[in-house]
Symmetry: none
Subunit: 193 residues, 2 copies
DNA sequence: CTGATATTAGTACCAAGTGCTAATAACAAC
DNA sequence: GTTGTTATTAGCACTTGGTACTAATATCAG
């Protein structure tokens, strides 16, 4: 018989390629001590695609699943109305890249990012930082939803430089997210340039 | 002048390829209405490798990541240790794009995103959603900082399908962020396949 | 108008294949 | 031994998406 039976070689071949899809037919031929042609016949029988197709498959799979991290922009969502130190409104359209593939529900941090950005924006100061926040994800948000977030400044303490902002996000009038944000600002009232 | 300046075209070319590394020179040539040769000169000047190399890069990056069975694809920051339903650790390197230009301090939502991703990952379930969270930004984080975030599962209620996770982020041993996350999961104990 | 820069064209070549035909090899059955 | 069958190897043309290189042409700026 042969070095190994054809069956045995093909079994190992499948394994080897599954283990490392980056191997060429030539490397496989050397490894199994057969000709490149034999490896190709084997791949055909086993319906294993060529190296480049295998690599492309690996790449596209991971590419589809790759998380598009939060955008770099100052604001997440588009601010459509603002009244400094009082109230603000922004819109954020949820797209496919913002949701879990598994269940199509938006990742919490995108909703948080919209709220947080708006909380920062509504503060009339050069420097505004989120110090503390208490948030609730009330209802799942899905791709295609248009999230409207409203920020209302509800309190301000000059001594501690803190401002409290209430955030509410809705989709079609239904509340999906609420949060209370404690913001720190550098300047007190009247100190502004 | 030209359709667009060379500079502008090259800027868009970089963007296009970064956005979709699977594009061929020919497709790019059509898109930018120039010859394939021009695209190749552009790629050379910009040191952008050819299609196959780009695809191989994408594929090998994810392939080298041994933790491929974990839901690593849904994470912001890199998970370096995980013990499902118990604890997890991730690293996130803060870059220029994560901070306010004004003051160089990291935007809160990036820290939240890392914590939130980790809270979702530590839950051993198909579906885990953040329901509520109470967070504090203890100390400003800056570009160049390496944020190490630790998630510890501190409680679980089977009836309400809730799991409480405590998150702590540190930079050089100093706490910069703490949070308590209430997570919702579909399956109770023992229901897992 | 002259140079410099940008663009296009064309050629040879490469890797890692596919698709095809044809020649051997190996082994079993008669 | 001869025949049949399956397995293996060889060789050639062709494909994709390039590289490397040379040469011609276009475009613009001073």
């Amino acid at each position: 018989m042969l070095r190994r039976t054809k069956k045995e070689r093909q079994r190992l071949l499948s394994e080897t390629i599954a283990d490392n899809p980056f191997v060429t037919d030539e490397q496989l031929a050397t490894q199994f001590q057969v000709s490149v042609q034999t490896i190709r016949l084997d791949r055909m029988e086993l319906a294993i695609p060529e190296l480049r197709e295998r690599i492309k498959d690996v790449a596209s799979k991971t590419y589809e699943n790759e998380v598009k991290s939060l955008p770099i922009d100052e604001i997440i969502g588009e601010i459509i109305d603002i009244e400094l130190d009082n109230r603000a409104l922004s819109i954020f359209d949820v797209k496919e890249e913002h949701v879990f593939q598994r269940n199509g529900i938006a990742r919490g941090h995108h909703l948080f990012a919209q709220a947080n950005s708006l909380a920062v924006a509504v503060i009339d100061d050069e420097l505004a930082l989120t110090v503390h926040s208490n948030i609730s994800f009330v209802k799942p948000v899905r791709a295609g939803d248009r999230v409207i977030t409203k920020a209302i400044v509800i309190g301000r303490d000059e001594k501690s430089h803190r401002t409290k902002v209430e955030l509410t996000s809705t989709v079609n009038g239904e509340t999906v997210f609420v949060g209370e944000f404690d913001m720190y600002r550098t300047k007190g009232k009247g100190e502004q340039q």
